[in-house]
């Protein structure tokens, strides 16, 4: 009965901290915003609140359309009529309930053109009925006579959209043809905007394996029907088609091309209807996630609220929503055939501010959006998009330092990078000479300082143990450049444990540094919320399993390396990580997004180097041929996979066992 919103699942991270709130006048639903940069949904104060409930003895409202004059047209299917409702919720007139040629029979769709002409998808009469603004019957369109229309097509129009030229786009119940395009003279001019059949891997696999008879028994993979359609003020036609996958809301240009390019919009799996306001913002109602969702003109989800419950007793909770529409004041009207009413929602002052700000932001009017963002920020400091918006304003105002802070707060890498480029440019301009001087001085200093230090170090007598450690550490550099030689050398002797531990600790240390101090462009997260042990486990596990797998595989395959040698060489093979980490860390802090390739390339190089070293270490330690090494490496990789797989299975099983004991414990403790 209660379909949990998917957003709720996403928001559980927030739920566990949202301790009991003081009981105050709470809305029957919660409002969530979607943070585009992190992809998280989190709670926010209401942007829309329930306003009016209009019942007007409606028997079965199945479709709703709001005209340019803000009159709402409701299809009351069971009562065979169209009910026209003024913006204040009072009845203006009814259409089609009088005897005569204009009498409707179980209609399902309605559309009012800009001149006030009312088109009704008169489903029961298999026609489109047309009425004047005053509700006088004008004419009807029956099934168009066309050879292009498949003969077995039933003309049961259920939805209708009419463009500025009077061309009708007719949705047929359950049809996979898309919308039928019929010109004002009643001629069929082609099917429009049909969905494509979904291509999935399972289908591909079925075609590969199954024979003809078996394939015939499978449910045919047909294109989805269009459940609802609407037209925007810019002439684009928006279609809603429920189902898994993408393209559930499409924005079709007059050529039938989807300008959303089959994008997967959030909260559309059970999409019932879509509406578009004059600014191009989309409003969808989704039965699967039980939510009303607002999208920006590009189809990015912004806010979600509302709920569906067939036993609904409260405003803002739908019984069985059938259609929605938005009027010029951005009020949302939702028709509900279970509650037999229309519920309207109006923007809160906060909603007004935030949606205006986002609208201006989407248009690129950053300067104009500033006061709106400021009042949004005064009312909600938790809303990340504010900082993104203000960051853009800062960019325009050339306040780059503020912009950096704002973009960082919003986790907006793109904006951050732009602002950072400016800051870096200014800094370089000012300090270029100084920078050169410093670099030159450093080079000289290192050159002479190194020599002097070496001289001094050599002059002293060191304890033999320290000398040994030093020499062992020095081999790290040697491994990098002459891996074969170095590993042979290593194989011949035993490296002291402290050095191995020191190298491993250094690697972990670098990892910790990388987690917390990698440049924002590469790591746009709140570092305080990072689960460090978790990250380190995932860092260490591959290395550890490599050692185990390497040793096990190679001892079976006739490798001569002992365990200690494997550990030893695998530790030294980490050399590139030790050497590259710091430069990578530094570089990640000074490059912008466009230069990211530098860091990425270096990172790749390091990885390749690491792989090479592991490979060489294996070959040398176990004294394999080259080809043999390749083979054994692959087997080791496979063994690693197997180890992980078993670890996964075992942990899953033990979790069940653990859960069983926990439940048993709870039962014993809290019941008895």
């Amino acid at each position: 009965m209660w379909k949990r919103m998917a957003v709720l699942v996403l928001a559980t991270a927030f739920l566990f901290v949202s301790a009991p709130l003081p009981a105050s006048a709470e809305l029957p639903y919660r409002t969530y915003f979607n943070d585009a940069n992190s992809g998280d949904w989190s709670r926010i104060q209401a942007v829309y609140v329930p306003d009016r409930t209009i019942s007007l003895s409606l028997e079965e409202p199945v479709d709703l359309f709001i005209g340019d004059d803000d009159d709402a047209y409701v299809v009351d299917r069971a009562a065979n009529r169209i009910v026209v409702i003024r913006r204040d919720g009072t009845l203006r007139r009814t259409i089609g309930d009088a005897e005569g040629p204009g009498a409707l029979k179980a209609p399902e769709g309605v559309f009012a053109a800009f001149d006030g002409t009312v088109y009704v998808a008169d489903t029961g009469n298999e026609r489109i009925a047309v009425y004047s603004r005053e509700g006088r019957w004008i004419r009807e369109y029956k099934k168009p006579d066309s050879s292009y229309l498949p003969a077995d097509t039933y003309f049961v129009p259920s939805k209708i959209v009419v463009d500025k030229r009077g061309v009708m786009y007719i949705g047929i119940s359950g049809s996979e043809l898309g919308l039928l395009r019929v010109d004002p003279d009643g001629r069929f001019t082609g099917a429009f905007g049909s969905n494509k059949a979904e291509q999935s891997y399972s289908n591909w696999l079925k075609h590969l394996i199954l024979n003809k008879e078996q394939l015939e028994k499978e449910v045919a993979n047909r294109p989805r029907a269009i459940t609802n359609a609407t037209i925007g003020s810019d002439g684009f036609i928006y279609t809603a088609s429920a189902g898994r996958g993408s393209g559930n809301i499409r924005k079709l240009n007059p050529g039938g091309f989807d300008t959303f390019r089959n994008k997967a919009l959030q909260n559309t799996e059970g999409i019932v209807d879509v509406a578009v306001d004059r600014e191009g913002f989309l409003y969808g109602i989704d039965s699967h996630n039980a939510a009303l969702t607002l999208y920006d003109p590009l189809g990015n989800a912004l806010f979600a609220f509302g709920d569906i419950d067939s036993e609904s007793v409260r405003k803002g909770v739908f019984g069985f929503p059938t259609s929605l529409a938005v009027n010029s004041a951005f009020e949302i009207w939702v028709a509900d055939s279970k509650l037999k009413n229309i519920q309207t929602f109006k923007r809160t002052p906060f909603g007004e501010n935030v949606l205006t700000a986002i609208m201006l932001f989407a248009k690129g009017d950053y300067e104009k959006s500033k006061p709106y963002w400021e009042s949004v920020s005064a009312q909600n400091e938790m809303f990340n998009m504010t900082f993104q918006g203000l960051g853009k304003v800062d960019l325009e105002e050339k306040e780059y330092a503020e912009a950096i802070e704002n973009f960082k707060t919003a986790y907006d890498v793109d904006g951050y990078s732009q602002a950072f480029w400016e800051v870096r440019y200014a800094w370089l301009q000012r300090h270029l000479a100084a920078l050169f001087a410093v670099v030159a001085a450093a080079c000289l200093g290192i050159k002479y300082g190194y020599k002097a230090a070496r001289r001094r170090v050599r002059a002293r007598a060191w304890p033999p143990r320290l000398v040994r450690y030093f020499l062992e550490l020095k081999d790290i550099g040697y491994v990098l450049i002459h891996p074969y030689h170095a590993f042979y050398k290593l194989k011949e002797r035993t490296v002291s444990w402290p050095v191995i531990v020191a190298i491993l600790l250094a690697a972990v240390g670098y990892k910790v540094l990388a987690i917390y101090f990698t440049g924002f462009v590469f790591n746009p997260v709140d570092t305080s919320q990072i689960n460090l042990p978790n990250k380190l486990i995932f860092f260490a596990v591959p290395w550890l399993t490599w050692i185990i797998a390497n040793y096990l595989v190679c001892s079976v395959r006739g490798g001569e390396g002992r365990f200690r040698e494997v550990v030893q060489s695998s530790t030294y093979a980490l050399a590139p990580y030790l050497v590259f980490s710091l430069p990578l860390l530094l570089l990640s802090n000074i490059v912008v997004l466009e230069e990211r390739v530098l860091v990425d390339a270096l990172h790749q190089a390091m990885l390749i180097w690491l792989l090479c070293l592991f490979f060489v270490s294996m070959q040398v330690i176990h004294n394999f041929e080259f080809v043999e090494t390749i083979r054994n490496s692959l087997i080791t990789a496979f063994a690693i996979g197997i180890i992980w797989f078993f670890a996964f299975i075992v942990s899953g099983l033990t979790f069940n066992l653990y859960d069983f004991f926990i439940q048993l414990y709870r039962e014993a403790i809290y019941f008895g």
């Binding site: 639903y29 509650l339 005064a378 919320q529």
Partner: protein
């Protein structure tokens, strides 16, 4: 060796033994010092147990000669009212002699001709009682069904006793017996259902009992409304067009059983409902057993063509019982009956009093008669602002709990001083998040969080506020316990209906009420040391629950203990405050925060009216949602003005965003610098009503679309215009 060690051994043992004694002594001293106080220290009077007598005696057989045309016979009469009863149907008619109006328990037979419903629904409509029973054995186990006064197996007996008349309903097959007693009072009708009159001798058990469900029922289109206790009070008009609902308004007084709390639905705060028909009205107040009573209101078209409202007494609770981890839970019904007496008082109103204002006034005098409302507030020169200050809260960062300070005591003092200089003349400070490490640990509050300045700074802050003349309350929660607290859920957690400790979805459990009192007393003692003027008790004003131990703690007992704790805090420290303010806290609190001013968005409720505000204004100060956490700043401000609420804000010194990862993240904006201007202007606006602080509301009405007038005792009126976003205060001469 062994021989030599022998003489030493007794000494060693002796030393060890002595050491053990010392340790034990220390432990007992320490634990003795830390032992929680018990509710005994409150010296509360004991809870009333079921004690209403069952008047079994000589059956009364009225003579046929006395019957009127419909068959009703006179049964009771006093100066103002007369009660007639129909011996067969047991329907009653209460005549209001002065008002000249007959209140009927059911619609008259004549008007039921065009009724479309049939069968059980129709016979319910003709019955003054509807009983729901549940099978306890075999196939009927947990199956529920209804019985009413037209049941074929029913034997009714009328008995007269000194103050009233008793109707005994004995269902002979189901072997269930219930009695209903009617008495006339100076104000109307008292209906009682004594527990001693209930018998369940067979295989069926009493599930619920609706008494007078159709008392004053009216047809759609009539002039009038049902009154239900939704939020501040809600009306269901007889002549409104309606959405198609599958349920009426069914809500348990003070909220449902803890495990089935509904999101956002504020629990009923006061046990009253009513009907207005034309120039006549009644308000019914549930008294005995109100905690286990549903208020049921049905719109026309759902169960019959009548609008009706009534009390439905719950005797057992239905729940989902898990029989195993893999099986689906099965519906089950409690085995034991809640052994509670029940009573409802119907107060009949007519003329100018026959509306929701009259109902509220009648309810107010009811509170006064019970001695719960206390005396009138003293007049003030300026209204008191409730200033909530969030000290801070705990968040999880770098994989551990960390306290985030948002307002230190020193910063709080600066904020208050700045407000005072800005013209805010009276402030009550409610400081939260002061506990060591944040407010999640139910067992560890002290020392006061060091990041805020610790005890010293707290002391200095309280002293400074006292110099300014402002009281300081500390907020605390003694009800919900976070699992991170070092307190065992098994022995301290309240048990839900299935007998296990109840956990909320955020994994908190509810402390047993006696422990709530214990921690409350302990904390009050320690706060007294630094001179705090009171405690704001989170959850005491909006919570009550039955603890399903083997010997259950009834909801009434929970309320009694909570009230005792509030009383104690007032005596010991000076003030006590709660949220929401369920009416069992009235008289034990100095103010109510987050008072219900708004409806719960129920589709069935057409209008919100200030019933509860009218009942309390002038006696208990109340506050709406804080000014910075409203959905609609202007409208909710005007609502507070219309309903006579006082200004409140909840603030931090630092940006609210600091608390983003803490449980306080639902307060989206609270930075002092952002809000101080708004506080000043809003305070000035509220202060225009300062002369009305101690005045009762005597009238409230809608004079135009979006325009409402509230009239006070001294004649002053407050007119609020939502269309133009303005309000006007007109003085009503001297007071």
């Amino acid at each position: 060796m062994a021989e030599r060690s022998l003489p030493i051994r007794p000494r060693t043992i002796g030393i060890l033994f002595a050491a053990l004694l010392v340790v034990l002594g220390f432990v007992s001293i320490l634990s003795g010092g830390e032992a929680l106080p018990t509710p005994k220290e409150l010296n509360l009077p004991p809870l009333r147990t079921a004690a209403m007598p069952d008047y079994e005696g000589q059956p009364w057989q009225p003579g046929a000669a006395e019957a009127d045309a419909e068959g009703f016979v006179p049964a009771l009469e006093n100066g103002k009212f007369a009660l007639r009863i129909h011996p067969q149907t047991t329907q009653i008619i209460v005549a209001d002699k002065a008002g000249g109006y007959d209140w009927r328990s059911n619609p008259p037979e004549a008007s039921l001709k065009d009724e479309t419903v049939k069968g059980l629904l129709l016979s319910n409509l003709k019955s003054p009682i509807v009983l729901e029973y549940v099978g306890t054995q075999g196939d009927d186990r947990s199956r529920r069904d209804q019985l009413n006064a037209s049941s074929k197996e029913l034997r009714t007996t009328l008995t007269r006793y000194d103050r009233g008349i008793q109707v005994t309903y004995a269902f002979e097959k189901k072997r269930i017996r219930v009695v209903v007693q009617y008495e006339l009072t100076e104000l109307g009708l008292l209906v009682r259902v004594p527990d001693q009159g209930i018998r369940e001798d067979g295989e069926y058990a009493l599930y619920s009992f609706d008494v007078l469900p159709y008392f004053g029922a009216a047809k759609a289109g009539e002039d009038g409304y049902l009154f239900v206790p939704d939020g501040p009070g809600g009306l269901i008009n007889f002549n409104a067009s309606r959405s198609s609902l599958s349920q009426g308004y069914v809500q348990q007084i003070y909220g449902p059983e803890i495990s089935r709390k509904e999101r956002g639905q504020q629990p009923i705060a006061f046990p009253a409902f009513g009907v207005k028909r034309g120039d006549h009205a009644y308000v019914a107040v549930v008294e005995n057993g109100k905690e286990e009573t549903d208020i049921k209101a049905m719109p026309a078209g759902l169960k019959s063509s009548y609008y009706n409202v009534g009390a439905s007494f719950k005797y057992r609770e239905e729940y989902l019982r898990r029989t195993g981890r893999l099986q689906n839970p099965v519906k089950a019904v409690e085995t034991d009956r809640m052994k509670l007496d029940r009573s409802v008082e119907y107060r009949l109103l007519s003329g100018s009093k026959a509306d929701y204002v009259g109902m509220a006034e009648s309810y107010r005098s009811r509170l006064q008669e019970d001695g719960r409302l206390g005396s009138k507030l003293a007049p003030v020169d300026h209204v008191p602002l409730n200033l909530g200050i969030i000290g801070g809260n705990s968040e999880e960062a770098y994989s551990r709990d960390r306290y985030v300070a948002a307002t230190t005591f020193a910063q709080a003092a600066d904020m208050v001083k700045e407000l005072k200089n800005g013209g805010v003349d009276r402030i009550r400070i409610i400081y939260s998040g002061w506990q060591d490490g944040g407010d999640f640990n139910a067992t560890k509050r002290f020392p006061i969080e060091s990041k805020l300045g610790g005890k010293k700074a707290a002391q200095a802050f309280v002293d400074e506020m006292h110099r300014l003349g402002f009281p300081v309350l500390f907020e605390d929660n003694f009800v919900y316990v976070d699992v991170r607290s070092a307190v065992s859920a098994k022995s301290n957690g309240a048990r839900g209906i299935d007998g296990t400790v109840f956990f909320t979805s955020w994994n908190d459990f509810l402390l047993k009420p006696s422990l709530t009192v214990g921690y409350g007393l302990e904390t009050a003692g320690k706060l007294k040391e630094i001179g705090v003027d009171g405690i704001h008790f989170n959850w005491l004003g909006e919570t009550t629950f039955r603890d399903y131990e083997r010997a259950p703690t009834e909801r009434a007992e929970t309320e009694r203990l909570y009230r005792g704790l509030l009383d104690y805090a007032r005596k010991e420290l000076g003030q006590a405050g709660v949220y929401q303010g369920n009416d069992f806290t009235i008289g034990a609190v100095d103010y109510i925060a987050d008072f219900p001013l708004y409806s719960n968005y129920n589709l069935i409720v057409d209008e919100s009216v200030p019933f509860y505000p009218i009942a309390l204004h002038g006696y208990v100060p109340y506050y709406g949602a804080p000014g910075n956490v409203r959905n609609d700043y202007e409208r909710e401000f005007l609502k507070a003005i219309e309903y006579g609420a006082l200004p409140s804000f909840v603030l931090t010194h630092d940006p609210a965003r600091k608390l983003k990862n803490t449980p306080s993240s639902y307060i989206y904006s609270s930075r002092f610098d952002e809000w101080k201007e708004r506080i000043r202007t809003e305070y000035r606006d509220f202060d225009r009503l300062s002369k009305l602080y101690d005045q009762a509301i005597v009238d409230h009405r809608k004079i135009a679309d979006d325009v409402f007038v509230t009239v006070y005792e001294n004649g002053a009126t407050v007119t609020v215009d939502y269309g133009r976003n303005t309000f006007a205060v007109q003085d009503g001469g001297s007071r």
